[in-house]
Amino acid sequence: MSLPDDGGIVGSYGVVGSFPKDFDYGPDDHDMENGTVPPDNRPRILLMGLRRSGKSSIQKVVFHKMSPNETLFLESTNKIVKSDVNSTSFVQFQIWDFPGQIDFFDSTFDSETIFGGCGALVFVIDAQDDYMDALVRLNMTVSRAFKVNPNIKFEVFIHKVDGLSDDHKIETQRDIHQRATDDLADAGLEGVHLSFYLTSIYDHSIFEAFSKVVQKLVPQLGTLENLLDILISNSCIEKAFLFDVDSKIYIATDSSPVDMQSYELCCDMIDVVIDVSCIYGLKEDGEGTAYDAESSSVIRLNNGTILYLKEVNRYLALVCILREDSFDRQGLIDYNFLCFKKAIEEVFEVRQKTVIGSNGGGQRLSTDSFGSPKTNGAVAAKS
């Protein structure tokens, strides 16, 4: 049994394409103008794992802002659920959330279409459960997917670690790591690299892990990191993250090591900015967006540290952590930031500019906000 020969999965109509390709919507001209990649060609992140391991919860919490407690009431996923993430023209991917009950390597499904264009495979293991079955499935999934597409990046989320003590976490990770790599070696796949992350939807670890997964799919990552390095060294910034505002995953940071707490701080700052500007930043008729070209914010912490947020583009924000005394020269930092922003635009270039140029979204917003200064989302908070 194989799929009808239409060469690929069409739109979001499930794995066994119900529509012949001709019936699909034509290419969206608007999207093409904007330089976005048609959904079929975007890199995919596959969420796989045993049933009840937390795949849908991860997807909902990270990309749909669902509160972690609400995930208790999710029903079981019965088909591949696809969601598009369109941050910018360079961070675009699809998340495919698989039902754990179905073996997609079965001949009923065309593994070529599922794994062929895939960027990363996230395998979720429930750390609160006996993970032996999961390891067997992991090994099977990795070896088969690798056969279909050797370019897939394999990521293993050791999930639901919120219930585990710190020692136990380390022990679990070590054990899973050991067994999984041994199993792969037994299967003759020493070359396959697995990355392991300890995650939980109740804290920021899931966002952090997902950030790392996404970063591997951004081909310009090296350049971005370089730019950030130049920015922080010239502006006396301690740490800078380039955030996707919607999902709060960071697509790049400078080369200094990431401290979990500073990442959490930055995440929370984005929440604060968006929340406040949702309340006070919208016009009286509810028009406008909570995040636009004028969005920026400074938060002073009582330990002499400053959080500084600046808009980079519609989806991205730069969040920096710096010492209070470095902030004396804010003009310099802002100037450097402008240079940085220009450089980013150059990196992702032309098409991005045509978006703003052609539909004028960004500019119109900013002129509007000049007209009514009180409405814009600039927030300065002190603590």
């Binding site: 499930g14 066994v16 009431f73 029903e75 459960d129």
Partner: protein, 567 residues
């Protein structure tokens, strides 16, 4: 219907699974004939077609997709308890058996249905998530799938996914059965959901699962293996609906769908476009189908583990009008002389009398015939009805008293029954007496036929106060012209009648459409009549024959003309 109807479920443990599937088998006549005289009457057991439990199991493993399926059936994806093979019912009139089993036993069918089941639950997207969708291809067969939720307080998301699928190879047939299938499947689903909802509400009233889960989460004990182990054994659909007979009911409904779906659409060869009569036939068949719904299926258990579903004799399901017809054919055979054909009738009563009579008939006046023989009356009416389109002209073959003209166009009475005065004085009737030899008909009423004719010696008396206009409808004059030609035989006459009736029915349709399309001046109407080659004298006929249009056709016309008016 050559199809498989199946209930599928997205099992929390096993993914998409076939729970219950019903198929039709054509009986192999040889083995079943022997025990035809069993005490069960016409409902005999059959052992040949369906394999025993063990062979069913081995066949299934050949079935591909999931080999060891049988062993790991959980409560939620099992419909038929171990030890039972399934349900079976027989339709002895046509020699078809309907069997329901956990899943189809033949490997090829199993593969097809399994594929359809996976697609139905895990691939295809129905807008609104619940509802009917159609998919398939030549190779795997075509599927109509109706997905739905069943409430379950213990499951994730408080509901579980089910679907009812109909798989067949014939795409046209499946799509043409769409309204029938979806409405009936919807009916079944509503019933299941209503039962499940009442159970769900009862359970929630006792202990809210929502609160329960949050509490469990917040006060999660250090022993965290509990969180996953806490899933209770998944409950079966029987528990969710609280209906222990659910699968019997499903068997009954699925079998009925297969049976009714098969007899709903039949192929026939059409010569030319279907005429009014064909439409009427379709309509009456549809009516009969509805009648079958009320059949009840009492259930009996047989020793092989099959549950036998017996059904009441179908005879009671016949439409009452048909009974009358049968009665008419049987009882009226009392030895009276009969008319063979329209030309024979015309010979007997004479062409002038026939002229008057025919005018009354085609314009819808009442015709009363009195005779001592019911068989004679019957033959008179049968012959005269050939002058009219199929569904106009109601008949009462024999009555003891006069019936009003709105009740019947043709009325048969005995010779001594009186016709009320108000009828005799009215213009809109015609009476025909067939006087037997014994009553010595007077010379001017005596029929002039050869001696071997059954009506030799009989008398015919016609009474009517109405005057027949000089110009009769064109239809009538053409029929009479044709009857004047003695060289034509029976078949030619009847074909001619059929053709000319069709011709005039078409004119009636045109006129009907015209009048319904809005207001028209008399001039416009006259123009149309001219185009239709209808004269003034045809109008009463056209008016009367409008009654003969089927209601289906009328409503179709009306919606169409409304559509035109709105554009």
């Amino acid at each position: 219907m050559n199809a498989v109807v199946a209930l599928c479920h997205f099992c929390e443990l096993h993914g998409p699974r076939i729970i219950f599937s019903t198929q039709a088998y054509h009986n192999d006549p040889a083995p079943s004939l022997k025990d035809g005289e069993s005490p069960m009457g016409p409902f005999r057991r059959r052992t040949a077609t369906i394999g025993s439990t063990s062979s069913g199991g081995s066949e299934r493993s050949v079935g591909g997709a999931s080999g060891g399926q049988r062993t790991d059936l959980c409560e939620a994806c099992r419909s038929i308890q171990p030890g039972h093979s399934g349900f079976i019912s027989h339709d002895h009139d046509v020699g078809i058996s309907y069997t329901s089993t956990q899943s189809p036993t033949q490997p090829q069918i199993f593969t097809m249905v399994k594929q359809a089941c996976i697609r139905s639950l895990s691939c295809e997207v129905c807008p609104g998530r619940e509802g009917p969708i159609f998919f398939g291809d030549e190779y795997h067969g075509y599927t109509l799938s109706y997905t739905f939720f069943v409430k379950d307080s213990q499951s994730r998301g408080f509901q579980r996914w089910y679907s009812i699928i109909v798989v067949m190879m014939d795409r046209m047939f499946l799509l043409n059965s769409w309204p029938f299938l979806t409405s009936n499947i919807h009916f079944i689903i509503q019933r299941i959901q209503a039962q499940a909802l009442s159970i769900y509400e009862k359970e929630q009233a006792i202990k809210s699962q929502r609160a329960e889960r949050i509490n469990r989460q917040l006060h999660a004990p250090q022993n965290f293996y509990l969180r996953r182990g806490g899933t209770q054994a998944l409950r079966s659909l029987l528990d969710l609906t609280g209906n222990k007979q659910l699968f019997r009911y499903l068997h009954m409904m699925f079998s009925w769908i297969l049976m009714a779906g098969g007899s709903r659409l039949t192929e026939r060869i059409l010569e030319g476009p279907p005429n009014e009569e064909a439409f009427l036939d379709f309509a009456s068949e549809e009516g009969e189908m509805c009648f079958l719904v009320c059949l009840t299926f009492p259930l009996l258990e047989t020793e092989e583990g099959f549950i036998k579903v017996t059904k009441k004799e179908l005879d009671s399901g016949k439409a009452p009008t048909e009974d009358e017809n049968i009665e008419a054919e049987v009882n009226y055979d009392d030895g009276g002389p009969t008319f063979r054909s329209l030309s024979h009738f015309r010979n007997v009563i004479g062409s002038l009398n026939f002229h008057d009579l025919a005018y009354h008939i085609v314009t819808g006046n009442q015709v009363i015939v009195r005779s001592q023989y019911k068989s004679t009356l019957k033959s008179v009416f049968d012959v005269l009805k050939t002058l009219l389109p199929a569904n106009i002209g109601t008949t009462i073959v024999f009555s003891n008293k006069y019936e009003e003209s709105f009740k019947c166009n043709f009325l048969g009475l005995s010779l001594d029954t009186n016709i009320p005065d108000f009828v005799s004085s009215s213009e809109l009737y015609m009476a025909l007496d067939i006087i037997p030899k014994e009553q010595r008909p007077t010379d001017h009423t005596k029929v002039l036929v050869e001696s071997q004719d059954p009506f030799h010696g009989y008398g015919i008396a016609i009474r009517s106060s109405a005057t027949v206009p000089d110009k009769v409808p064109t239809f009538q004059s053409r029929v009479e012209q044709m009857l004047d030609n003695t060289s034509l035989d029976e078949t030619v006459t009847s074909t001619f009648l059929l053709a000319i009736k069709q011709e005039w029915m078409n004119k009636v349709k045109m006129l009907f459409k015209f009048t319904r399309a809005g207001y028209h001046t008399e001039e416009e109407t006259n123009k149309l009549l001219k185009i239709l080659q209808a004269e003034k004298q045809d109008e009463p006929l056209l008016k009367y024959w409008k009654m003969g249009l089927s209601s289906q056709y009328k409503s179709h016309l009306l919606t169409e003309s409304m559509g035109l008016a709105s554009t």
